[in-house]
């Protein structure tokens, strides 16, 4: 048993914030967060989070109350998440870089009693709420109201593991985002599994690569804390362009990221750098992982264990995982691995289970399955259903829409999607949502969106539109459309380019947009 396991096995984790609280009692002097400007110990973070949690309780926050928060990746953000959980409520992260229209939609949908913000966002959010007559108490997490509060004692909350821990929004095919609800029970099950899966023997420095609005963040933060480690946020915009700058001098030990980040380090010719040699656990997710990348990384960092993880927000981050064993066959895609203990996976085709080696839609059941989407009965009926013997028990399975194959060893391989959902640089995008937003622009009659890899091997969205009243200056018109889209969609969902068609978009014999011909239009335009 490892040092960490010895310390933690006597403890029981029922709630997401337990992964911090237990460690706070064991490693109170350890550094919980190093945000590049400041550090904070477990003991101090606990005290500050308790102070904010008591203010939230005084505002009426209680279990299953949704509390939104908006912050950049600084200590105040982590304090806010922890305080919301400690108050018993459920946290809903908002991305400050999202367009105001999208933030407003989320606030109207979630109807939070309280919005916790970093000081710098207070005025902006206050104005947004006032102008739209939203009755939400806005709390500056570092403001006088919180800092003058003297109550730093732990909040006593009457709650159950079936209360909501967080809601994270993902792209929705109906044209609006879907809020995935996650119970404490769901996410605690996954994190508990992580103790035995990872052989972590001492507190490590975990990179926090994702935005809060993406659930890999939950692993980065809470599994790090569960093992007494330090969360190191990747918190400068320039790190997205030059990720190596983040690793320089930061002594990062654990990285959970998309393969494209490691590919970017490879393109920069820095894989041999001393600054990457501290990485002991490299976990890939969100994109197809090439065996050659794994092999190349291992050639420079042979002591680093690499993993491939797969899952969805609806399955509490991860449903399949495996430790990659070297050597692996070159020119291949690394499988997504085996189901996490307690997660059952069936591959279904036309209502029945497929044989090993055949492609089927992945249908996932077990403790980690989300209770459904927030306030979205139509999508819940479509995606969360009872099948087989579970009908008697009322246990629902989640229909992922992902196509997988199980090999004879029980290892799963990814084979694309049933529908038009795509992943671009790890972000899950329903192309239908983007198309609906484009056609909401007056005078755009039709839109089709497709993913194309550009000359830098970066995937990007390209839109093809048919609009009325095209002016003589098409380029100017297209620029205007792109600006309008930036006001409506997060940047990762905005097409990099829009192509104007002079006539209605091509359709197949069923009257649906012919995406094969759309690809031809895009290829014709991008090859010019």
């Amino acid at each position: 048993m490892t040092y960490i396991e010895n310390k933690i096995t006597a403890n029981k984790y029922n709630y997401l914030d337990d992964f911090f609280s237990v460690s706070e009692s064991l490693f109170s002097d350890n550094i919980a967060i190093d945000d590049g400007e400041n550090e904070i110990s477990y003991a101090s973070l606990d005290k500050e989070a308790n102070r904010l949690a008591n203010v939230l309780r005084a505002k009426g926050c209680q279990p299953n109350e949704r509390i939104c928060f908006m912050s950049s990746k600084k200590i105040v953000a982590y304090k806010s998440i922890l305080a919301i959980l400690k108050s018993g409520a459920c946290f809903v992260p908002l991305n400050s870089e999202d367009p105001a229209e999208r933030i407003l939609f989320l606030l109207k949908s979630i109807r939070p009693k309280v919005l916790v913000v970093e000081s710098v966002f207070f005025s902006k959010m206050h104005k947004l709420c006032r102008e739209n007559e939203l009755d939400i108490a806005i709390i500056d997490a570092d403001g006088a109201e919180v800092n003058s509060s003297l109550n730093t004692s732990p909040v006593i909350v009457d709650r159950t593991p079936e209360d909501l821990a967080y809601i994270i929004f993902t792209s929705g095919s109906t044209g609006v985002p879907k809020g995935v609800m996650v119970y404490h029970r769901n996410i605690v099950h996954f994190l508990n599994n992580c103790f035995s899966f990872f052989n972590i023997c001492e507190p490590l420095r975990f990179a926090h690569c994702s935005e809060y609005t993406f659930d890999p963040s939950i692993f980065d933060i809470f599994f790090c804390w569960a093992t007494g480690g330090t969360v190191v946020p990747m918190n400068k915009r320039s790190y997205r362009i030059n990720p190596f700058a983040f690793f320089e001098g930061n002594n990062i030990n654990v990285v959970f990221t998309v393969p494209s980040l490691i590919n970017s380090l490879k393109t920069s010719e820095v894989l041999a750098s001393e600054d990457l040699s501290s990485i002991r656990h490299l976990i890939y997710t969100g994109e197809a992982l090439s065996a050659d990348l794994v092999t190349e990384w291992a050639s420079y960092n042979p002591h680093c264990q690499q993993y491939n993880f797969y899952g969805t927000t609806e399955t509490a981050i991860i449903s399949h995982w495996h430790k990659i064993k070297l050597p692996i066959t070159s020119n291949s895609i690394v499988p997504i691995g085996f189901p996490v203990s307690g997660v059952s996976v069936k591959l279904i085709e036309e209502g029945g289970e497929v044989q090993d080696g055949e492609i089927g839609e992945s249908v996932v059941a077990g403790t980690q399955i989300s209770p459904g989407y927030w306030d979205n009965e139509a999508e819940n009926k479509l995606r969360f259903k009872c099948i087989g013997e579970d009908k008697l028990l009322g246990h629902k399975s989640y229909f992922t829409g992902d196509l997988l194959v199980k090999d004879k060893q029980g290892c799963f391989h990814y084979h694309g999607r049933k529908d038009r959902q795509v992943k671009v640089r790890g972000h899950r995008i329903e192309l239908l949502e983007v198309e609906k937003v484009i056609t909401s622009i007056p005078c755009i009659l039709e839109a089709a969106v497709h993913v194309v890899e550009n000359e830098f091997q970066i995937e990007q969205l390209i839109g093809v539109i048919y609009a009325e009243q095209i002016t003589e200056d098409d380029d100017l018109q297209v620029d205007n459309y792109l600006l309008l889209l930036k006001e409506k969609l997060p940047s990762y969902m905005c097409p990099a380019k829009v192509i104007c068609c002079k006539k209605p978009l091509p359709r197949n014999k069923n009257g649906k947009i012919d995406y094969h011909k759309i690809v031809e239009i895009i290829n014709g335009e991008t090859n010019e």
Binding site: R237, I241, P243, T267, R425
Partner: protein
């Protein structure tokens, strides 16, 4: 500012569709929200078109500010 400084500044403003009179002395991806990874690629493509050169791919991530672009571009153009 010399001619190259002005050209680079104008190029970044045009590609990222920033206000022409933007009151920022130095443009960089940490302070300009429009300068994301896609915006960066568009800047690089435009630089290659404008200066008729191919920027080595390992240098692309380093060019995340107007100062860095000028530094790398000057080295590249000097070698030509």
């Amino acid at each position: 500012m010399n001619n190259l400084d002005v050209s680079i500044r104008e190029l970044i403003i045009e590609v990222l569709k920033l206000p022409a009179d933007i009151e920022v002395e130095h443009l960089n991806s940490d302070t300009i929200s429009e300068w994301d990874s896609m915006g960066h690629i568009q800047i690089i493509i435009k630089l290659e078109e404008m200066f008729l050169c191919e920027i080595p791919r390992n240098k692309v991530p380093l060019m995340a500010s107007d100062k860095k672009i000028i530094e790398e571009l000057t080295k590249l153009l000097t070698l030509r």
